[in-house]
């Protein structure tokens, strides 16, 4: 593998970021921590889109447009998630995900 950042290097980088995001989603105790990790994962997906657009089909801008959509959807999702966390916090006084276990059994 040469040191010059080629296509594969970019992909490996975004995979690293995605894996770190997975770790965070599965391991964070606070709901907001989980949300942060999800944003990480979305960001790394966006990087992937750009990279593919750049290296596989540079003539069009489909990948870039997808990134804009990703950002918009991430924003919407973060907004709704916040609203839910605020509502839960109001009744439960905590946002610890381990405490939300009514589906137990």
């Amino acid at each position: 593998m040469s040191l010059f950042p080629g296509f594969m290097h970019w992909l490996v980088l975004s995979t690293i970021l995605f894996s770190i995001g997975i770790y965070g989603v599965l391991c964070r105790k606070s709901a907001l921590g989980v949300l942060i990790a999800i944003e990480l994962m979305l960001n790394s997906a966006a990087i992937n889109f750009i990279v593919f657009n750049r290296f596989i089909s540079p003539a069009t801008l489909d990948g870039a447009l997808m990134v804009i959509f990703i950002i918009a959807v991430a924003a919407a999702e973060a907004v709704v998630a916040m609203a839910i966390f605020v509502a839960i916090f109001r009744s439960r006084k905590t946002v610890d995900v381990n405490k939300f276990n009514t589906m137990r059994g």
Partner: protein, 645 residues
């Protein structure tokens, strides 16, 4: 083929349908109607049986070849081409003989029971069981293959169990019914092993040889009695073993020593039941089985000899005990045992070359059915009048119950073998067979027992009917109602004349039974022994003679042993309760509870534990699920990728 041949299946079927109808519909509605319906159906079956007999012997008159044919055969369960369980009806002279006996005697006993059981609340149940019994016995008699016979054998056992335990509120009756069932069941294990042996080897013989024989099954009697089959079985060395195993089954049902213990106790049942089942019909099932397989037994000489010696011993053993019993039904029970011994050794002494004993045995079965049933029914009438079974509480009943007295006397003379009553002819034939086939010891035993029979039968006759009344009840005894008297009279007529039937022309093994060939000395000797027995009984019991007490005192200890039936029951109790239960039964029960049940419980517990473990995954937390999901998905993808590379 006439109507009755094609429809001979009706003979067992009528009692079966009657059983269902009486049991399910009529008996809950009306007890009296149950009795009437049950009796009518058996009479109908009896009419059909007599018609069949008439037709058969018209078509194949005595002296000509008398074929065995299977009137109806139905394949029920097929394992292989030559191994299937069939149901059917077999018609040949012994079967016809038994059909006639069973239906006619059963019909009259049903009629008698209408009177005897009139006051009993459970009489609906009683008639249901009696019909079931008649159906089972008929099914056994007409069985064309040994498996059907076994099935009905067990059914007969169940009917007997139900009927012995009919007075289920009496503890002794319940114990007696259990004892009967368990002892016969124990014997039937050996019977079944014998059947399986025959079936296994028969199947192999059929598969090796007759590839083209369709319709022949390994269990059929026609196949099993065929000389070719028998020689093949003997070559394999299992013929004697199978025959002896089957004989053990027959010995259980026919109460041969040492499996006789259930028959005296079976007298706990109502007296008509004792008459039908334990005198005339069920106990002769063993005799019938050996007669059915006579060719097989004859081919293996050892089995027949075993039958002969066991029969002769039982004959003597039971006669000796009968002399000491004080319960009228017990005496009659031991008398039945003794006569069954006669029938069994009559079969045992015959061979294929000289099959006189075969005819003699079935002839004695025929006559015994009538006079023994009559004896029991008469005893029943007496018990009904005096309300006790003890002979020493009876006495002087001859004047108060004249018809019962006369019929009982006729039956007693018949069983003793006084000419010209029926017992004389059949017993004479048996003794001639024993001597003619070179069994002098057995002949001597037969003669001796004839004398002892005369003694104990006339003992109860004199004590019951002669002399002064010994209790209040017997002073006020009255004659039985008409519905009970008619069967007594009819059976007395049969007991008197049935000896004149030339049985040798009708029922024989092989083609020709010659004249009985023995000298005139045999009947004279038999009659002499009988007269000696009667005289001794008259001396001891007809008046208030002290002679009997003197003999009892002289015998002392021996008398106690004999009257306790040689302590055989106590030996059985000891063996089962002290040896079998703690040393064999208890460990097996432990094994069953802890190992067999334990294994089942183990699988259940393991499954439950598995469930508990898996439920640990269900924490309700989304991250737990996420972790397992991602890990699982990746491992799965890895596996798929690796295996499809």
């Amino acid at each position: 083929m006439g109507f009755v041949f094609e429809h001979s299946w009706l003979i067992p079927a009528l009692p079966f349908f009657s059983f269902l109808i009486v049991g399910l519909i009529v008996s809950p509605l009306s007890r009296r109607a149950a009795g009437v319906v049950a009796t009518l159906s058996i009479f109908a079956s009896a009419v059909l049986a007599c018609w069949l007999c008439w037709e058969y012997f018209h078509l194949y008159p005595p002296g000509s070849h008398q074929p065995t044919f299977v009137a109806w055969n139905f394949e029920w369960l097929r394992y292989y081409q030559f191994l299937s369980v069939n149901a059917g009806v077999l018609v040949d002279p012994p079967a016809i003989l038994l059909m006639v006996i069973v239906t006619v005697v059963s019909a009259f006993i049903h009629l008698y029971s209408i009177g005897y059981m009139a006051d009993d609340d459970g009489s609906g149940r009683y008639f249901t069981y009696l019909n079931l019994f008649t159906f089972s016995m008929l099914g056994l008699v007409v069985a064309p293959n040994i498996l059907q016979m076994y099935i009905f054998w067990e059914l007969v056992g169940i009917s007997s169990f139900l009927l012995i335990g009919f007075y289920y509120k009496k503890r002794s009756a319940v114990a007696a019914s259990k004892k009967a069932f368990i002892v016969t069941r124990f014997a039937d294990v050996f019977f079944l092993i014998g059947i399986l042996l025959l079936g296994y080897h028969g199947f192999q013989i059929l598969s090796e040889s007759g590839a083209g024989q369709t319709g022949v099954q390994a269990f059929d009697f026609l196949f099993l009695n065929h000389p070719a089959t028998l020689s093949a079985l003997a070559d394999r060395g299992i013929l004697t073993a199978a025959c002896i195993l089957i004989f053990i089954g027959a010995a259980g049902k026919s109460a041969m020593f040492p499996l006789h213990i259930w028959l005296p106790d079976a007298m706990e049942g109502p007296t008509p039941v004792s008459a039908l089942i334990h005198a005339a019909t069920m106990v002769v099932a063993g005799i019938y089985l050996v007669a059915r397989l006579f060719a097989a037994f004859a081919a293996s000489g050892t089995a027949l000899l075993v039958a002969a010696y066991v029969g002769a011993f039982t004959c003597l053993f039971a006669a000796v005990i009968a002399c000491t019993q004080n319960d009228i039904k017990r005496v009659l029970a031991f008398s039945t045992l003794s006569q069954l011994g006669y029938m069994m050794f009559a079969l045992g002494v015959s061979t294929m070359d000289n099959p006189l004993g075969y005819t003699a045995s079935l002839f004695h079965l025929f006559t015994h059915a009538f006079f023994k049933a009559l004896l029991f029914l008469g005893a029943g009438a007496v018990i009904h009048a005096v309300h006790t079974n003890e002979i020493w509480s009876m006495g002087g009943l001859a004047k108060r119950m004249p018809i019962t007295h006369i019929t009982f006397l006729i039956a007693t003379l018949a069983i003793v073998g006084v000419p010209p009553l029926s017992g004389f002819f059949s017993k004479d034939l048996i003794l001639a067979a024993a001597l003619g086939n070179n069994h002098p010891t057995i002949f001597a035993v037969g003669l001796l027992v004839a004398g002892i029979t005369a003694f104990y039968m006339f003992r109860i006759y004199f004590v019951t009917f002669w002399g002064k009344a010994r209790s209040e009840a017997s002073k006020s005894a009255h004659e039985a109602p008409l519905v009970m008297l008619v069967p007594l009279i009819v059976l007395a007529v049969f007991a008197a004349v049935s000896g004149f039937v030339p049985m040798g022309d009708f029922v024989r093994a092989g083609e020709e039974v010659g004249e009985h060939g023995g000298s005139i000395l045999i009947p004279i000797l038999a009659a002499a022994f009988g007269l000696i027995g009667i005289t001794v009984a008259w001396l001891f019991y007809s008046g208030e003679s002290p002679l009997s007490q003197l003999v009892v005192n002289r015998l002392g200890k021996a008398y106690t042993i004999i009257s306790s039936k040689f302590y055989i029951d106590e030996i059985y109790l000891f063996v089962t309760q002290r040896i079998i239960f703690p040393y064999i039964g208890a460990p097996i029960a432990w094994f069953d509870r802890h190992v067999v049940d334990g294994a089942v419980n183990l699988t259940a517990n393991l499954t439950r534990l598995g469930g508990v473990v898996l439920s640990l995954l269900q924490t309700g937390q989304a991250q737990t699920y996420g972790v397992w999901l991602v890990n699982g998905a990746i491992v799965l993808a890895l596996c798929i990728w690796l295996f499809t590379k």
